[in-house]
């Protein structure tokens, strides 16, 4: 029995879309939720800030979409952050690590690490839009990469509160 043409074409269309749907199920499945608002409040210790800073870097801050921590092989798209605090202390004359990190986050094109594109967006503005306190937490975490965290929620830098 010869299968009617319309059925043959229908089967081909179904099989093709079915195949592509199957390919779609084979890749990693990840649902990306909108960023959670972090709970930063008075009385938070530096250790708490480090923990929240890491969460922000992985989530709302989108930092680890571009940066790596401890990548040892292959080309880098943006600077690797392993040991970044030790470099931050001397990278720009006149800026200590906290001021350097603040400058990198609020005004990222003011100094660009040689060999990398001037591509980082200001983190305090949309679409990322971290608050001053969230940025302090990120700085606290960055200080743990090659150094010791010193910032608290009372720490002030040049960019804090719309400064600079």
């Amino acid at each position: 029995m010869r299968i009617p043409l319309i059925l043959r074409i229908g089967a081909l269309v179904l099989a093709t879309t079915g195949f592509y749907t199957y390919v779609g199920q084979m890749v990693p499945q990840k649902e990306v939720l909108p960023p959670r608002e972090s709970t930063i409040g008075p009385g938070m210790t530096t250790d708490d800030m480090v923990r929240i800073g890491r969460e922000i870097m992985e989530g709302k801050g989108l930092c680890l979409t571009c940066h790596t921590i401890g990548k040892t092989s292959g080309p880098l798209r943006f600077p690797d952050l392993a040991g970044v605090d030790s470099r931050a202390k001397t990278r720009v004359a006149g800026l200590n690590d906290v001021e350097y990190f603040a400058q990198s986050l609020y005004e990222p094109t003011a100094f660009v690490v040689p060999g990398f594109p001037p591509a980082m967006p200001p983190i305090n503005k949309p679409p990322i839009g971290l608050t001053d306190q969230e940025i302090l937490c990120v700085i606290a975490y960055l200080q743990t990469l090659g150094g010791t965290p010193t910032v608290t929620l009372e720490t002030k830098h040049h960019y804090y509160g719309g400064g600079k």
Partner: protein, 611 residues
Amino acid sequence: MTQSVPRKLIILLALVAGLVTIAGTGRILHAQTPAPQAGAPAQDQSKPYTEAEYRTFPKVGSRVAIWAVAQLHLLFAAFVLAVPIFAFIIEVIGYKTGDLRYDRLAYEFTKLLSVSFSLTATFGAALTFMLIVLYPKFTNYLMSVFSPTFLPYVLLFFAEAFFLYTYYYGWGKFHPLLHLGLGLGLNLVGTAIMFIANAWLTFMMSPHGVSDAGAVLSLKDAIFNPTWMPINVHRVIANVAFGGSIAGAYAAFKFLQAETDEERAHYDWMGYIGNFVAISAFLPLPFAGYWLAKEIYAFSQTLGLTMMGGAFSWLFIIQAVLIGNLFLAANYYLWLGMGRVEGQQPLQKFIKYLLVAVTLCFMVWATPRSIIATVSEIRAMGGSAHPILGYLGVMSAKNTAVNILILTTFMSFLLYRRTGKVAAVPWAKKGHTAQLAIFALVALFVIFLGVYGYFVEATVRIKLSVPQVLSVLFAMISITAIDVFLFRGARRTGEVRWGHIPPISQYVLIFIAVTFTWLMGLMGYVRSGLRQHWHVYGVIRDRSVDAFTPTLGFATKVVSVTVLLFFLLIGVVFWISSLHDRPDFRRVKGSDDLSPEQTGAHGHDPRHARV
């Protein structure tokens, strides 16, 4: 009787569809209307007016409902915008050469337009109403920014209807130049409509001309936002590729239905032209895609990296599978087409090398940077990237693969073009050598840049794609230019026998059309989904329950359902278009009833005969 059964079935299906629509509308209204409370009229009167931010579409949710309707609207719109472009070009060729076959072909393409135009407008209206109902606050914002563009849009839409219907119904009724003028008008107006709509959607992705809080500072800047022109160019090219593939599928369907050699010859030729249009437009499409991606990165690195390195990076592996399939299928169709030409074809021996090149490039392009593996597998590999294959999953290798893929497909076209012909110009040997030299040098240059990319910093590596693209474009243009002169007055070694092609070639055309459609659905998703939890990126936040980005598996299911709906509807378009050629209905003598008996074309009950 046999005719009345499907008619009854269609009426029944239409009734069921109508009832489902009414029931669905009722459900939405019911879901949005709070139940009245007895004994509280005074409270009702003092109830303040509150503006809804979102409303919910039953069962599938607002996002999926908007997604499906927008996708269907875009697919039909793409078809309606694309067909006039190549119908017009084919008509011009017919006018210039005086070959009536071209005129008939252009008319056959145009026949598909009028029903598709109605469906495009219907889905456009459905999309607008659904946006107003389901996302009122956001829609209101877009209206406040773009309201000055709405009246021109509507007026252009009227103009498009005028041009389309006069172009179609006026076929053969006007002076050819006047008719071509109508076709040109149709194309210009259609493109202008698309450009206006593109301003709205690109603004959502790369807003410009507004303050941080969303206040309009400059409508001109909002329209000329960073991704507007790249999307305009990308869509014009992609629409032509997509329209060509759907027209090719129509021809394939008619070929498989054909009962005479003449019909088969015509539809084989039509399918070839449709596929030629599709693949010709498809070859430069990745270059337009590069430009768009570059502008996205330039507008926001975050957006660019979300696309290529974040939540959507694996989507490009699916895209690679689709595009690889398109290239394979397009090449296979061309190779099958070489059999149309009488006699042994010496060029066919090159096919196996082209097949090897296409397959290798496909494999490189579809290699992911990191792979899904168990903990022990990752430990054994020394990371999520394979120690050897991982090097093929980076942009240096992928850019090289896609450029070689384009060059190879171009060579397939060239081989097909010269099948059954021998160049007769005195400089033929030099011409062939020059072509081969350009091809080899460009291929080597592209591969060299790909390898070089592994040894330089990111800032240098990113820029290497530009000379790769430009050199491939140079090869395509210069080799074609030489070919045109080389084969002028060429000696024929065998005639092209249209219709003499294996039936599987027609299924390949349908496969190409489905793959194109699916690809458009997927890339439409990434363009829109890229904004993630923003309606207007960085300006208007999405606070609805659908603000999350779904899994790729879910997205591909929605794309597939939409594609199937589209093909169901395009089947209806083909069927309605084919009614035009159907024999007229005839009253049986001695009976009061209209009989389904049919005569030959234009059967002759005066009430039904066409004038």
